[in-house]
């Protein structure tokens, strides 16, 4: 739908009736003039605020022909982000919002967050460069914080998962010892393990829908049982680990420290002999293999994530999957990727993507 709209705009060219200024780039970009922005804000406020408004309703309310959902989606998102900052830094001017948005667009376009000297014309009116820079830094800080939160969340979920596994194992061990020969119970346990692994498998599959075949890259051995959410978490965590790599450009050290951190846990689990419990042995190998294949994982996770956010042609996805070339792009798109993360929860239109593409809906 987005592609069609873009073409539509391109054809519309420079008609100024609707008040829309369309640039003549290859990718038609809508220029958000202060007037247009004012109307946008009016519409949003009428709808009850940035969080309650959706691109569709804003579009209807503004009633400007030629203004598409595609434009409004990204603009609303930037507006929400700036609103967050607006709340945090206690500034009451909508101009700040415009600056933040200008700054944000720049970081996508240039890929280099600190290059802030060429601010768009709409922000020039009375804004000091210093202030704009400050906003930029603030935006960047927030994005970084969001990334941190994301990483920590993964680790914490994984810790809970590991703990629950150990509880499960101990309980089944005890039961096993107590109930040698109770056929019914064994069957029940198998059934339940089956249920649990089915649910986890469904989650895993829906999380990486296009990656089922690519999991071959990560797991060099096909398993009889699907990996449980434990290994899924560790796959994501190892992806996180390599994301960190890219940020601090220190690959070996990061992986090593992470490895030692995890090892006691993995060792703990190899103690169990319970075979009903979703092939723990396999999971260990699975985890290790996912570790070493993390390069692939990280690109995959990024591309899955970005697929939803850039509703663009298919070929762009495939180019992301190409391990070597697009690494630079991935890094550059990182801030935008993270922003999508925060705001997507509210947004009805970017459903399929959350947190590295791990979406369970």
């Amino acid at each position: 739908m987005a592609v069609h709209n873009e073409r539509h705009l391109f054809l519309q060219g420079g008609h100024g009736d609707s008040g829309l200024m369309l640039s003549t780039d290859a990718k038609p970009r809508l220029k958000w003039t202060p007037d247009l922005h004012e109307r946008f804000i009016e519409a949003v406020n009428q709808l009850g605020g940035a969080d309650k408004a959706t691109p569709k309703t804003v579009m209807k309310l503004m009633g400007i022909p030629g203004l598409t959902l595609y434009h409004l989606k990204s603009h609303l998102q930037k507006y929400r982000l700036s609103k967050n900052l607006h709340g945090q830094t206690n500034n009451g001017s909508t101009k700040i919002g415009a600056v933040a948005m200008a700054g944000k667009r720049m970081s996508e376009a240039n890929g280099s967050p600190m290059n802030s000297l060429s601010i768009g014309p709409q922000a020039n009116k009375g804004i000091q460069i210093g202030e704009a820079l400050q906003m930029q830094i603030e935006v960047q800080r927030r994005l970084h914080e969001q990334l941190e939160v994301q990483r920590h969340l993964q680790l914490r979920i994984e810790a809970q998962g590991k703990y629950l596994q150990s509880v499960l194992e101990k309980a089944q061990e005890t039961l096993h010892r107590q109930n040698l020969g109770t056929v019914g119970l064994e069957a029940a346990k198998l059934q339940l393990s089956d249920l649990v692994s089915k649910v986890s498998n469904q989650c895993l599959n829906s999380a990486f829908p296009d990656l089922k075949d690519l999991r071959g890259l990560c797991c060099q051995q096909t398993q009889p049982n699907p990996p449980n959410d434990c290994s899924m978490d560790s796959c994501l965590t190892s992806c996180e680990g390599s994301q960190r790599d890219q940020e601090i450009h220190n690959n070996g050290m990061c992986l090593r420290t992470y490895n030692t951190h995890k090892d006691p846990l993995m060792h703990h689990q190899t103690e169990t002999k319970s075979s009903e419990n979703k092939t723990m042995g396999n999971d260990d190998d699975d985890e290790r293999r996912m570790f070493f294949a993390d390069r692939n994982c990280s690109d995959l996770s990024m591309s899955v994530g970005l697929r939803g956010s850039f509703s663009q042609a298919r070929n762009e996805e495939h180019s992301f999957l190409d391990v070597g070339n697009k690494r630079v792009d991935s890094v550059n798109r990182l801030p935008y990727f993270a922003t999508k993360l925060d705001l997507n929860v509210d947004e009805k239109h970017c459903k399929q993507f959350d947190l590295n593409g791990l979406s369970w809906s």
């Binding site: 809970q160 499960l168 101990k170 339940l192 929860v345 959350d354």
Partner: protein, 491 residues
Amino acid sequence: MAIDNAFEVDFCSYSTSTTTTTTADEDPACTWNHWGSPVVDWGSLSSERDEFQDLIESMMDDGTGFELTRLGHDHETSNSVSVSVSTDTMVADEETNGEDFKGLRMVHLLMAAAEALMGANKSLARVILVRLKELVSPSDGTNMERLAAYFTEALQSLLEGSGGGHSKHLITNGPQHHRDKHREVDMLAAFQLLQDMSPYVKFGHFTANQAILEAVTHDRRIHIVDYDIMEGIQWASLMQALVSRKEGPPTPHLRITALSRGSNGWRSIGTIQETGRRLTTFASSIGQPFSFHQCRLDSDETFRPSALKLVRGEALIINCMLNLPHFSHRPPSSVASFLSGAKTLNPRLVTLVEEEAGPIGDGGFMGRFMDSLHHYSAVFDSLEAGFPMQCRARALVERVILGPQIAGSLTQIYRNRNEEESGRWSEWLDTMGFNPVSISFANHCQAKLLLGLFNDGYRVEELANNRVVLDWKSRRLLSASIWTSPPDSDL
């Protein structure tokens, strides 16, 4: 009409046995009025005869028949006969009704049963429950049917608890000797499924943990008093976070005191000691210095602060998780004693997670009952929305975790039916003098990210600076709030 006559007969016998005020007027509508409590105006209902008649008919119809003698009526009147209304036309009617109508009917019946129970009208309640059982099913059918099954079951046990009668339970957990062994396996599996399918457990835990982490960044020793530790999973992620924290003294010592009660209830996964062992093992596996203590509550579950062992220099955290899906309902007096006792200890932080009830106003018992129905309806819906295909998994979670939760909730509502609206514990903390602690940006962010992992019907709502609420599609479900002791209180 033959059926009408049957009705007349039926109500005559009812009115003589159950109400003291007999009436010469044999109009069913009028008789009905004598049973209801003022809350539900049966008079207004009866004026619309069709709807009313339908309700009665729905109770009476069906080939399975419905015998008054089953209710143990001892009195003999010439009119007291077993009424098996031949319902050929009725059955056809029923089949053409839509799902919604059936759902609505079930809700009406549930309301009627609850109402009857409130008015201590046991026989009527039993009648209605029997009819309900025919309509509902705990394992098949729609969400509404399963939900109604659990509510029916809960009402049934309330009924039995308050006056005897031995009807067959709708939801059997297997013969007794198998039950214990299956129980723990069931419970564990169901808990794991619940964790995977919904954010209900993680939301409270992670919000509390993040607040705790932020409060203890510069401390070397941390002491957490946990009101209801259950299986201890909350602390696994806290320990992980403590081990990998970057600011302040690395890996502070963590001490957890769990409150233990006389009996843990059948839904607990092992004893407090076992939880302690598990946590200790986990802590050592990740290199977290850790010690575990128990503190016994009195027999009536009152908390005595003096029973707690405190060490100087520790940052004291009070952690109070109430009514998470797999938790047992604790008596309000116990919670109150815990929180007020906590105040005397001057804790650094108090984390409170509780069920969020809707606005009830003057609803009283019926209001709370309906609110509970809405609450669990939302929970069932949320599970289905995320996992529409995994009926068996959801059925397990519903049977093992949510069903007992519903029963506990109704029991509590019933017990407190004559008391004032209890309100939220967070409000109580406020009036007690605790100060709110703002929930940080990182915490909010984490909550949103967490919910983003699940279905997009979940939302985080910020109701106050220090309170976030987990919603499912505009129904508020869980509330997490953070508090601290006022700065100038004396010990």
